[in-house]
Amino acid sequence: MEDDRLTLIAEIVRRCAQRNCNLGKIQLQKMVYFLQESCSDLGYTFVIFHYGPFSFDLAEDIERLNTLRILHIEKDDAGYGYHITPGVHCGVLTDTNKDPIIAHDQSLNVILDSFGTMTASAIELSATIHYVHSVLRDRTESYTLDEVKLAVRELKPQFTTDQIAQAMADLPAPFALT
């Protein structure tokens, strides 16, 4: 199980590099969030943190993969961001542990197609909307999308209500709010 989820993280990074996507820590966290939401429980617990849904265990695994040189994480001196690319030992996982990659191939492509070109800010908002919606859906018998919007606005005041509404409408089909 552990190697499988480390492999999937490495595979996301590898496919992003192939597509020339700019991948940082925020994007990677959110892509794994959406992967877990779409196909199988990878065992990560996500909580709302500085940039929306965040898993401390996932952050540790990303750092471990950096230490193992399966990923390469470089600081973006121009801002707060990071660049994550495949490390010199990336193949140790992605070339040898193919089963989880094959099993999740379609989901991985959906994630990359949906979010691969999004900025960190945009994916943060999309993930926060999705998370808030799923919490309200699980907890209450009835809720409105306006309530989702208000809850997201309270958590992310740097986004306007219109921006949130637009992001809700723009959520890719597999993750659209129902």
């Binding site: 617990t45 996500f46 909580v47 709302i48 500085h50 940039y51 401390f56 952050a59 540790e60 750092e63 471990r64 993969l65 950096n66 230490t67 193992l68 040189r69 399966i70 600081k75 707060y80 490390g87 010199v88 030992h89 990336c90 140790v92 996982l93 040898t96 998370y131 808030v132 919490v135 309200l136 699980d138 809850a151 309270e154 958590l155 992310k156 005041p157 740097q158 986004f159």
Partner: protein
């Protein structure tokens, strides 16, 4: 089971919980004294209400570990699937054992049990809880501050000490950053070195205490004993609360026929036969996995176990903390501290063997590494 390595480490979780409550109170009081209006804005509260939020925080801090299994993190594997000590903490706070007491005092405190329980709900979107919770469970929190200093004092390992007074005094509320929105706990530039000291304390206490090879051996014997007995901690609160450290040690004393029980009682723990570097790379990790498979085919697997840093408690991890600079600007701690930026988490793997076969296992590892050109 740290006291098996450091005999002075007989401090209790209750003492720690009182310490966390004190640190949480100090942090809250610091934030309030610096700028009460910002704290009121963060909590959407009036000045009078802040005392109630303080009390909620104190109770959450006091109870934050009440759901731990015996020997804390060491036996978390024995919890039922899907249950964590945090979830058990939530259930215990909501149970008659705790809720009745908190609710009975609510006329005086202004705090209801459910308001304390909210701190431990697994998926919260409550903005006020999300602001307060990192004070007791975050990257720079009261929990870490207390256990590092407390464990340092009681084990006699001095690495865990840092200037906690300076650190707490440097904390502040950072608001409306374009980067992350909302309000969060941050640190003033003057506290950066105190923060670095805490980061170093975490790193060294992990290597010297929490991931100490003998201590980890006893952790694994503990889990081995409980698994051999077929024990799973019950999820139901009343039965769960019947389990404590004494009950587990009594089990070990009563089952001297069990190899793990004997290891614990007679202090004949499995000993380390091999370890990889502190920062193992991916290729070395793969080699270790092959080595482990071969060792298990060659020797009695009942006389072996393997460990890795990931499994130990209080793992060192990178922090992502905002700093308010003296010019009023914001920075991430990594940009202001090379220590925080460059210090990498430990990624080490170990093989342990029963003392009766340890020499052979060590020799097997040496030959395997030589024949496969592996340098650990």
């Amino acid at each position: 089971m740290t006291d098996y390595v450091y005999p002075g480490a007989e401090h209790t979780r209750f003492g720690h919980s009182l310490g966390v409550m004190q640190f949480a109170s100090d942090i809250f009081d610091t934030l309030r004294s610096k700028d009460e209006s910002v704290l009121m804005k963060a909590l959407d509260a009036r000045s009078d209400d802040l005392n109630v939020y303080r009390q909620r925080l104190r109770l959450a801090a006091l109870l934050h570990d009440v759901g731990h299994a015996p020997f804390s993190h060491a036996s978390e594997e024995i919890l039922p699937t899907g249950i964590t000590h945090e979830l058990q903490t939530l259930e215990i706070i909501r149970s008659k054992y705790v809720a009745d007491i908190i609710d009975a005092c609510s006329a005086t405190t202004g705090v209801k049990a459910e308001q304390v329980a909210k701190f431990f709900e697994p998926r919260t979107i409550d903005r006020k809880v999300l602001f307060l919770k990192p004070i007791i469970d975050g990257e720079l929190d009261a929990d870490k501050m207390d256990y590092l200093i407390r464990d340092s004092i009681f084990t006699g390992v001095h690495y865990g000490k840092f200037d906690h007074e300076r650190l707490v005094a440097s904390l502040c509320v950072i608001e409306n950053s374009e980067q992350q929105g909302g309000m969060i706990l941050g640190i003033e530039e003057g506290g950066v070195h105190a923060l670095e000291a805490l980061v170093l304390a975490r790193y060294f206490m992990f290597t010297q205490v929490y991931f100490h090879r003998a201590r980890r051996a006893y952790d694994m014997h503990l889990i081995g004993l409980l698994k051999d007995m077929g024990i799973k901690y019950p999820a139901e609160v009343e039965k769960y609360l019947e389990w404590d450290d004494r009950k587990v040690i009594d089990l070990a004393s009563q089952h001297n026929d069990n190899r793990h029980a004997r290891a614990i009682v007679e202090r004949k723990h499995f000993k380390e036969a091999l370890h990889t570097p502190d920062h193992t790379n991916g290729e070395q990790r793969r080699c270790f996995q092959f080595l482990w498979k071969d060792i298990c085919k060659t020797f009695d697997s009942n006389k072996l176990f393997h460990d890795e840093a990931k499994k130990a408690s209080h793992k060192f991890s990178r922090i992502d903390f905002f700093v308010r600079k003296t010019d009023g600007g914001l920075s991430k701690i990594e940009e202001m501290s090379k220590i925080v930026k460059d210090l990498a988490p430990i990624e080490q793997y170990r093989i342990y063997a029963d003392q009766s076969i340890r020499s052979e296992v060590k020799e097997f590892c040496r030959v395997f590494c030589r024949d496969n050109g592996i340098l650990f």
